[in-house]
């Protein structure tokens, strides 16, 4: 039966769709590969947009609603492109009691955005994490994939200034 379904065509010529296709093939074009495929898309493109969700849903033969449902259920997936830089503040218990809320307050005030948002100039995205597992170094902040430990309010402000004035 499967042979009647034509293989969907990627939304555009972007080479990164080849990576996505490889994951889809590895998962046997089965619905069970949905999360793995979305991971690949997000890794390749940075976020999941509508055309990506449509393409993945068609390729795995799942309803678009299910692909959208999964993409919005899990925090790790994002439907919006991130800014040039990302600042993730860990809000795990250890970080929380060692002053993460104060860090978050300061950053929110400096950037004028809330967690999950990006500054209007698309320079910085602010995110919070449930726990990075760097509790020994609380409070922890991730600047563009680099984990920094024992961060003070002054240090995080200083770091962000470098990004916003660059």
């Amino acid at each position: 039966m499967a042979s009647y379904v034509a293989k969907p065509v990627p939304p555009n010529q972007d080479k990164r769709w080849k990576l996505v296709d490889a994951t889809i093939r590895r998962q046997g074009q089965q619905a069970r590969g949905l999360i793995e495929t979305l991971h690949t898309v997000q890794e390749a493109f940075g976020y999941l947009d509508e055309q990506a969700l449509r393409y993945v849903a068609t390729s795995l033969r799942v309803p678009l609603s299910r692909a959208y449902g999964v993409a919005t259920f899990y925090h790790f997936f994002t439907l919006k492109p991130a800014g040039e830089h990302t600042c993730v503040i860990c809000m795990g218990t250890a970080c929380y009691i060692k002053g993460a809320p104060q860090l978050l307050d300061a950053v929110q005030r400096d950037l004028g955005i809330r967690p999950g948002e990006t500054t209007p100039d698309k320079k910085v995205s602010l995110l919070t994490a449930r726990c990075l597992g760097s509790c020994g170094l609380a409070p922890a902040v991730v600047y563009d994939q680099e984990v920094a430990g024992k961060v003070s309010t002054a240090a995080v402000r200083e770091h962000l200034k470098k990004w916003t004035h660059a």
Binding site: Q30, A31, R32, G33, L34, I35, E36, L38, H39, R66, G69, V70, F73, Y74, H75, F76, F77, M91, G92, T93, A94, Y96, I97, K98, A129, R130, C131, L132, G133, S134, C135, G136, L137, A138, A140, E146, V147, A148, G149
Partner: protein, 547 residues
Amino acid sequence: MTPDELEQIAESEHAEQGKFTQRVNVCVAAGCLSCQSQSLKDSLEQEVSRRGTGDHCQIKGTGCMGLCSEGPLVSTSAGVLYKGATAADSSAILDSLEGAPVERLVCPTDVPFFQRQKKIVLENSGVIDPERVEDYIGAGGYTALIKALTEMSPREVIDEVTRSGLRGRGGAGYPTGLKWSTVAKSVGTQKYVICNADEGDPGAFMDRSVLESDPHRVLEGMLIAGYAVGAAEAYIYVRAEYPLAIKRLRNAIRQAERIGLLGSNICGTRFSFRIDLRLGAGAFVCGEETALIASVEGKRGTPRPRPPYPAMEGLFGEPTLINNVETYANVAPIIRNGGDWYAQIGTEKSKGTKVFALAGRVENTGLVEVPMGISLREMVFEIGGGIPGGRKFKAVQTGGPSGGCLPSDCLDMPVDYESLAKAGSIMGSGGMIVMDESSCMVDVARYFMDFCMTESCGKCIPCRVGTYQMHRILSSVAAMTATPEDLKVLAELCDLLKHTSLCGLGQSAPNPVLSTLRSFGEEYRAHVEDHKCPAGVCTEQPVGEPA
């Protein structure tokens, strides 16, 4: 791979390692990496090649050495542990291999933090290179698998695990041997083994550390489990937030496949086994086993009612064994040394050791492995080194959002499954967060309720609506606008969620509230009646709707 071949690998590894008379181990687990341990290791390597001592001096990247707060940690063949070393210190560290230690960097190891530990799960952490299977084999790795495959029947393996008294390290403490024998007895065309590495509790990083420091130990445990229950396929469900753990697991699986410890007809037996990774995507509820299974199947991670338990109907409707990382990490030593050996350690009902992630307002933060039954006082004041800044101890929080806060009169309680449950908390996966008088317990309860509210999957109403309502009341208590009537409703909601929620997330969500209400009721009353926060954390303000 035959037993002889394994021995050969071990011997050639010993010969290889024996060439080096000097060794410097640098921790390259995530904690120390974020303190620039990689540049320290690179600089040590450059210095060794500059000196031309590469033939007898080895620089090795290893797993976690425990005291994460003092990173990067370095241990040398001269038996010295250094803390907080930087790339600029590499020359001094290499000089010290033949002379006196570098005083300013020495981290004393004759202190309770190191002396009071008993390492089974972490025996290789900080000793072997997590990216080389040969190093693991050289340290006795995979001998337990060979022993199980060649000398024991699946039944005997399960009996050995049952005799050890090992209980699930994910938090609930279900007897591992019993779970294995249920899956072994279940009938199905295919059985699955799953490793739960979705360490979602905030404040817990034991599993991450084990996966980063000694990934082969987890694979070996899963292989033995697969042999015991009759499964041929396995999945490790690991958090996408742990990129280093994922990288090392992928590498370990490839290595094990290459030398024939994963794949078809392992050790010339009829046993075949494959392990695949599945990345979690940041949903706390996926730590619950039925939700985890849904997620492995590519669906939204929502739990379903049990029974049927996964042991009967799990992944793709087939019998499935699910254990936590630390549980699997305990299996190889049990098979190697026997269940009786393991059962000697710990208390009557809680056997063996437990790895804790000690964090919060305590002098020494990091990873510790202690025998079950140690007292909380020893954990906090001896191993943890007490509270910094001369402040007063207030509570220790175990079990994350499903656990509770234990006040100072619980300090002499032994740490085991039953005692913690009796005191209103749970063992949990091993997060242990110490709080001093600067923490407000209402604020802490609100913090955890915010967590449960956000993480509730929304499938059942008590959890979806109850956590929201409880969070609203706790926010109003913190804003000093609550009435005594609100506290009564709060207690009622606790009872409701506990008894009517579908899964463990909702059932245990009231625990942080209940335990703080019981032990720190006066703080709640101070907020409600006197409009004061004794810890000075909360400020009087009009509350908006919680985000």
